[in-house]
């Protein structure tokens, strides 16, 4: 019998209004609980009957973690449940963190941005369809990667950072937040922890079943942005097959602090080429003190792809990464 893929199997539904209640429910249900933010990824899993949690904890009513407010030391704090539209349209975000506004504004479609949350976009699971087919791959707790074999369809998979699993992080806001030195505030029943965005995302070498440091019972509650660099140049580009809806094939986010015509400091982050947003620290070091021009961009692009290894169908990602990194320095404005 064909698998039914529209009606969702039943679950307990909780709609706590307080974060502590949500955390208590998450503890109570453990891995049988599912945290629902915007739900745009959630319902695919449910409709496909691949994830069948006993309880869904809907955070829509937790107002505490929705909205944008001034943060410490001239920074900005964004609640994880803030919609991507609200992030992209917010005057402060547009004015002081245009990189993030641009990235959030390029996610999927208007409808998805209206409902999808910044937190959900950050912690979203990979799009690897072998994994999403519900097969017992490494990421699903099994012992095989269906995407890495010589016969696999792996055009969208990774060129760096693989360890058995070759899935990529699909988030558009993640590289922007890493480039902005954002901090992720994570709550659990045992207290609050903060992670630099670059450490928040983890590779399969550390935990093959998760994309982030979040363990069951952990909830990303706020994203804290430090005060932006004065007069920084920035660049964001997302390459995708379709101009709407689609996930990135490669995306780049860069921040350049230029003093006296030379790059004083830089953040270059590329996503969708690895299971986590890749901060190109070697590139950042190499371009320091140079002018942000074609030549520097060329050098940066070559350094960016050092050690990259293509799978059968994704060698285009190496050229794409090289060129995007080049542009992200040459064309930063």
């Amino acid at each position: 019998m064909a698998v039914i893929r529209d009606m969702i199997p039943p679950f307990e539904l909780y709609q706590p209004a307080e974060i502590d209640d949500a955390l208590r429910l998450m503890d109570q249900y453990g891995d049988q609980g599912w945290v629902l933010a915007g739900g745009l990824d959630t319902f695919d899993w449910f409709k496909d009957r691949i994830k069948r949690p006993q309880a869904v904890i809907d955070l829509a009513a937790v107002e505490e973690i929705r909205g944008i407010a001034a943060g410490a030391d001239g920074g900005l704090e964004i609640g994880a449940m803030t919609s991507l539209t609200d992030v992209a349209d917010h005057a402060d975000v547009q004015g002081r963190y245009p990189l993030l506004a641009e990235a959030a504004g390029l996610v999927a479609t208007p409808q998805i941005r209206n409902q999808g949350t910044l937190g959900g976009n950050i912690v979203q699971d990979t799009r690897c369809w072998y994994y999403r087919s519900g097969w017992p791959c490494y990421r699903a707790g099994g012992n095989i990667c269906y995407a890495a074999t010589a016969r696999s369809m792996n055009r969208e998979h990774c060129i760096v950072g693989a360890s058995r699993c070759v899935a990529v992080n699909p988030s558009d806001t993640a590289p922007a937040l890493v480039a902005l030195d954002a901090e992720m505030v994570v709550a659990s029943s045992s207290g609050e922890r903060t992670f630099p965005a670059a450490d928040f995302f983890i590779g399969p070498d550390i935990d093959i079943e998760r994309m982030t440091v979040l363990e069951p019972g952990d909830l990303l509650t706020r994203i804290a942005l430090p005060a932006p660099w004065e007069g920084a140049r920035w660049y964001f580009e997302k390459i995708r097959d379709r101009k709407s809806w689609d996930f990135s094939l490669v995306s780049v986010a860069s921040m350049l602090r230029v003093e006296g015509g030379a790059i004083a400091d830089a953040r270059i982050v590329v996503n969708s080429i690895a299971p986590f947003p890749v901060r190109m620290t070697a590139v950042e070091t190499a371009i320091r003190g140079r002018e942000p021009n074609e030549e520097t961009g060329q050098l940066a692009g070559e350094i960016a792809i050092e050690g990259a290894r293509a799978l059968r169908h994704n060698d285009y990602k190496i050229a794409l990464t090289r060129n995007l990194v080049k542009r992200s320095i040459r064309d930063a404005a």
Partner: protein, 289 residues
Amino acid sequence: MEFLRRALNPWGENVPIGVSWDLIWAAVIVGSVFVVGHALLVPKKVGAAEIDEDEARGLPEKVQRHTVGARGFHWSMSVAMFVLLITAFFPVVGIRFPWVTIHWIAGVVLILTVLYHIWHVFAKQDFWTMWIGRRDVEEGRDSLKAALGRSGEGEAGAGSGSRRPRAGKYPVDQKMFHHAAMIVTIGAVVTGILMMFRIDNFLWAENTYMFSDAAWGWIYVIHGICGIGLIFLVIAHVYFAIRPEKRWMTWSMIHGLIDREKYLQNHDPKRWVVAESGSDAVEAGADGD
């Protein structure tokens, strides 16, 4: 509790994918119960055999129990084993770090030490030293009785009462440990070599589809069972190594030597013949002949 983790593969077959990680805790618990039980039930100081002056005549002060090669093998294997167990099980229980590369490199080191050991045993040592024969069975029965405080009536050696029987070069409990460790290590090594076809390494290209999903699943299950078995064996081994009455043996694994007195108390000079120089020891013929 389930023993296997199973999954539906893309062809709808229900295949094993590995051993249930709950068994890690089962091994830790069984190991702890064994250690605590042994410590509580077998604390009695068993009288050592008296030293026969005749036997002692002509023997050097120190007798070599382990050659440099044997000690080198033992400690390199133990380091590899600890690295393997830590990299295997710490991530499973929540202490996360990039473990795969360290794990397989330690595995390669283990394989090299095992190969050296096999060569060493056949080329330099007497293979039968570790064999369990009829006399070992008797010795085991007697030492069990002695340990439990029963009379040592069947004891062939000196005196009466709770006396430990004297062993060949290796007491029977050591031999049993050796064989148990050998079986699970070989199981882990053979499956581990196959599992290296699932990851990138410098030896060969990965080949995920070398076996069927079910065959791969059983390979993972065997690897897991052997690994978990090693948790128990390592717990027991470390426990005995640090017990006071066995420390002379532990020291001999470090500097290679035991006192003449320990040699005569614990070993039967007929079964473990020590040359006058004290440099090498050869068991007189295979046990049970």
